[in-house]
């Protein structure tokens, strides 16, 4: 390998610069961008059409169900609903490309501003939950696979099963009851206590980071106390899934011949597990973790509701109930784009971890 690479370098030095890797990277970026654009078109079209054929009425959402015919019709025209649907879509996309996602009926503010406010709250929650999921789930899954059939394995499997079958709503309420109401260990629903509200200027929108940047440690502590429970709830789900998948991937690898060969060669067990088996699992795990993270970004609605967490999940759901279509489309688009983004990142990581994929 080493000799080869030296000779390659020498060769390329001799024949001028090699543009191939650069071209490959550009091609990848290009296809990634194309993917993003396609996603954008697909998402806007589908959400827009669903929004328009849904039986709820965006005009009633704004003017209320008691408005007069005149008020109703004026709003109908103001929303552009008198135009053909394709024209509405073109106007909508044109505005969106100029950064105008329209105003939300519910919050009356531009949708983009709302997203800037609600999305970091979800990002904060989902990131923390995924991190905990990785830190606990991966070692637990590996342990379960290595000690296959033992008590460790059973415990991990049971946790995996419970994590996927206990309703989050119930678990959230019970955890609030125990850790907040009875034991007084953590703060209750909400993202921060109201008397800390507004102390820290939003830089990233993520309170933990913003308060740390500002050096407001009391605010930081309060934010931590608030996020522990909801993040733990989501973490249970992510770690259950990650542990289950890690276990299954590892089991698969540990039964391979190369593991046996390595052991026969006299390699230490730790080296066999981590340097050989786990290295091969890592590639698959990256995909799983990416998917978990993406699903936490879109699927934490129930957790956000129980914990009064002002995140994008709650925003999209209540927008749907309020027929607030600009908000629904804007919110969905952000979630969709982050989905694609996370996929792209895991794809890149995948290539870094597994040189064969290059």
């Amino acid at each position: 390998m080493t000799d080869n690479s030296i000779s390659q370098t020498t060769e390329s030095q001799g024949s001028g610069p090699d543009f191939a890797p650069l071209l490959r990277t550009l091609k990848k970026i290009g296809s990634g961008l194309a993917m993003l654009i396609l996603t954008f078109i697909g998402l806007t079209a589908v959400t827009f059409i669903i929004g328009r054929i849904m039986p709820n009425d965006p005009v009633v959402a704004i003017v209320g169900d008691r408005a007069s015919k005149e008020v109703y019709e004026a709003m109908y025209i103001q929303l552009g609903l008198d135009k053909p649907i394709w024209e509405q879509y073109v106007i909508f996309v044109t505005n969106m490309l100029q950064g105008d996602f329209g105003n939300s009926v519910m919050t009356t503010r531009p949708v983009l501003e709302d997203i800037k406010r609600f999305f970091p709250a979800t990002l904060e929650l989902a990131t923390l939950a995924t991190l905990v999921g990785i830190i606990i789930g991966v070692p637990a899954g590996v342990m379960a696979a290595v000690r296959h059939g033992t008590i460790v394995d059973h415990i991990v499997r049971i946790i995996g099963l419970l994590g996927h079958s206990i309703p989050v709503f119930w678990l959230g309420m019970v955890s609030l009851l125990i850790f907040y109401a009875k034991l007084d260990w953590v703060a209750g629903p909400g993202r921060i206590d109201f008397f800390y509200d507004g102390i820290v200027d939003p830089v990233t929108g993520i309170i933990l980071i913003d308060s740390a940047i500002a050096g407001e440690w009391e605010v930081f502590q309060n934010a931590v106390s608030h996020i522990i429970l909801p993040a733990s709830m989501l973490a249970i789900y992510s770690l259950a899934y990650i542990a289950r998948m890690t276990r299954s991937f590892m089991l698969d690898q540990l039964n391979q011949e190369y593991v046996l060969t390595a052991r026969v060669k006299g390699l230490k067990e730790g080296a066999v597990i981590w340097h050989h088996a786990f290295r091969n699992v890592l590639v698959q795990l990256i995909t799983i973790i990416g998917l978990t993270y993406a699903s936490l970004l879109e699927g934490s609605v129930l957790t956000e509701t129980v914990f009064a967490w002002p995140g994008i999940g709650q925003y999209i759901t209540s927008s749907l109930f309020n027929a607030d279509m600009n908000a629904v489309i804007g919110g969905t688009l952000v979630v969709g784009v982050s989905f694609v983004g996370i996929n792209m990142i895991s794809d890149m990581l995948y290539r870094i971890v597994d040189p064969r994929a290059k």
């Binding site: 959402a61 408005a67 008020v71 830190i135 007084d184 909400g190 502590q221 106390s225 009064a308």
Partner: protein
């Protein structure tokens, strides 16, 4: 990557990770002594501009930020007393009111409250013509004539002209509604853009003279109000009011029990019962203006028959439901104007009697196995009531299918007259029986093209012959006794022959900390007063 190679190492890593879940900060403290903290689902709040707001949360906040000419003060919610009006005088023909303002009042900005502000505010609401504008437009005002109709004579005198045929009492009641709130003209105009009369700005800012000014509003998060030291009754005891958006009632209950909030507004009757025995918390109930009713579409060949409509009065298990699924949330009420309000009828002649209902159906010639649909809201207790009615209908030979929808789907369907039988709710828009008479007994044009969608009569394709004229007469009657008599008559007529079977009146419930005193939560949404609260 540097992973621990042993199981000991692995366990340490796991323990380290688990420590993330161990509490790092103490739980939050009790609410500050001078702050009233409320947990409430504020998802309905769209705007805090009084000319546009028509939602419950918005109405409550506006009632504490703005003053009106006339107000239902917390001391007696059935009696209209002066808000910022010091006195008023009707002309002999009842067509002109001369209102004298209290002196020395100021807005939050420091500007004095003048007659010009009153004229501007009422004119602004009419000209912006948002949903609640219809309330004061009934006085005959239009964008063209309102400047002439409402005039400032001098700094403290306003002349109000009544351009419709309308009872003076009704005019005063209309002027006590949220849409007639008085805004600070100078402040609003300073923030106007392209002649929008501050419409864009006032959605999330305040320019009033009420007990509180709006400090911040973060939709779906919290609303913060700050006491106004020059308020008409002096600075309120609570320096701050914080309304936290907590959608989930169970979470509201936990916050209340822990003392993180002083009041929780959406506790169910079950949860309130669960609070019994906790000396720190008190359960409260109050009459609400909401009515739950059944309505039939008069375009339906069977449901429109008088005997079928009469039969519906007897398929409702009023007592049974109030004693079970509606326990503590609703009481029996069979008239279109809610009890607790002036001129409300209290007769409740109907009871659960399936034999009688069956006999009425037979008289109407309805065949066994007739199929109908019941539309209702997809939430409690509407779906449970629908199931109860469905079961009763089944027993008398009518097969029904329940269609559950959320409000944003159900109301457009109702407005388009596409329902058959519907179980719905209605609450008054302002504190005068005309508010509901206009909905339940008034329909000047029953044609589909007329689209009088704000009226329940029209939505059910009921022409309300005779009642429409009587509603007009009641609205115009200047003698209160005569008005009361006419509303009694109207309520009886609707009860006996209309597409409506009015069943229940809502009872509002909420929980508050036992150290809270003086919180008044009135019949309508804009009768919630924070400035009387002490702790």
């Amino acid at each position: 990557m540097n992973f621990p190679l042993t199981f000991k190492g692995l366990s340490m890593a796991a323990a380290l990770a688990a420590s993330v879940a161990i509490p790092m900060a103490p739980a939050s403290a009790e609410t500050p002594k001078d702050t009233f903290v409320i947990a409430r689902n504020t998802a309905d709040a769209i705007t805090l501009d009084p000319a546009e707001s028509f939602e419950f949360t918005g109405g409550r906040i506006i009632a504490n930020i703005y003053e009106r000419l006339f107000f239902f003060e917390p001391g007696d919610l059935t009696k209209l007393v002066g808000g910022i009006a010091d006195s008023y005088e009707f002309s002999e023909d009842g067509k002109k009111i001369t209102v004298k303002l209290k002196s020395g009042l100021t807005f939050h900005s420091g500007n004095p409250v003048t007659a010009a502000d009153v004229a501007y505010s009422l004119g602004r609401a009419v000209k912006l013509d948002k949903t609640p504008a219809f309330i004061i437009k009934q006085i005959g005002w239009t964008a063209e004539n309102v400047d002439e109709a409402v005039k400032a004579i001098d700094d403290t005198t306003v002349e109000i002209n009544v351009l419709a045929d309308m009872s003076p009492a009704l005019v005063l009641n209309l002027l006590s509604s949220s849409v007639a709130s008085i805004v600070d003209m100078k402040e609003v105009e300073a923030h106007a853009v392209d002649g929008d009369m501050g419409y864009a700005w006032l959605k999330d800012h305040s320019a009033g003279s009420g007990a509180y000014k709006l400090k911040s509003w973060k939709a779906n998060e919290l609303v913060m109000l700050e006491a106004f030291d020059k308020f008409r009754y002096g600075e309120p005891p609570m320096k701050r009011v914080v309304i936290r958006h907590v959608a989930e009632p169970s979470a509201q209950r936990l916050l209340l029990e822990k003392g993180d909030v002083d009041a929780a507004m959406e506790l169910t009757s079950d949860q309130l019962k669960g609070l019994e025995g906790n000396a720190d918390v008190a359960a409260k109930s109050y009459p609400k203006g909401y009515l739950m009713y059944i309505a039939t579409n008069m375009e339906h060949p069977i449901l429109s028959k008088p005997k079928v409509r009469d039969a519906l009065h007897y398929v409702v298990d009023y007592k049974g439901m109030v004693g079970s699924i509606l326990d503590g949330q609703y009481k029996i009420h069979q008239n279109f104007w809610p009890s607790g309000m002036w001129a409300a009828a209290t007769e409740a002649p109907y009871s659960y009697d399936l034999d009688k209902a069956k006999a009425l159906l037979a008289e109407a010639g309805v065949e066994e196995g007739t199929k109908i649909t019941i539309d209702t809201l997809n939430k409690s207790p509407f779906k449970e009531v629908a199931q109860n009615v469905q079961a009763a209908l089944g027993k008398i030979g009518i097969e029904s299918e329940i269609i559950l929808s959320d409000g944003k789907t159900l109301w457009p369907k109702y407005r388009a007259r596409k329902h058959e039988l519907i179980i719905a709710r209605w609450g008054p828009d302002y504190s005068d029986p005309h508010s509901n008479a206009d909905a339940f007994a008034h329909n000047p044009d029953n044609r589909f093209e007329a689209k009088l969608t704000g009226k329940l009569t029209w939505r059910n394709a009921w022409d309300a012959k005779g009642l429409t004229e009587l509603t007009n007469e009641a609205a115009a009657a200047s003698d209160p006794a005569k008005r009361e008599e006419l509303y009694a008559k109207l309520q009886k007529m609707v009860r006996e022959d209309s597409p409506f079977t009015i069943m229940f009146q809502a009872i509002g419930t909420f929980g508050q900390r036992s150290n809270v005193d003086g919180f008044v939560n009135g019949v309508t949404s804009d009768q919630a007063y924070y400035w009387t609260v002490t702790k």
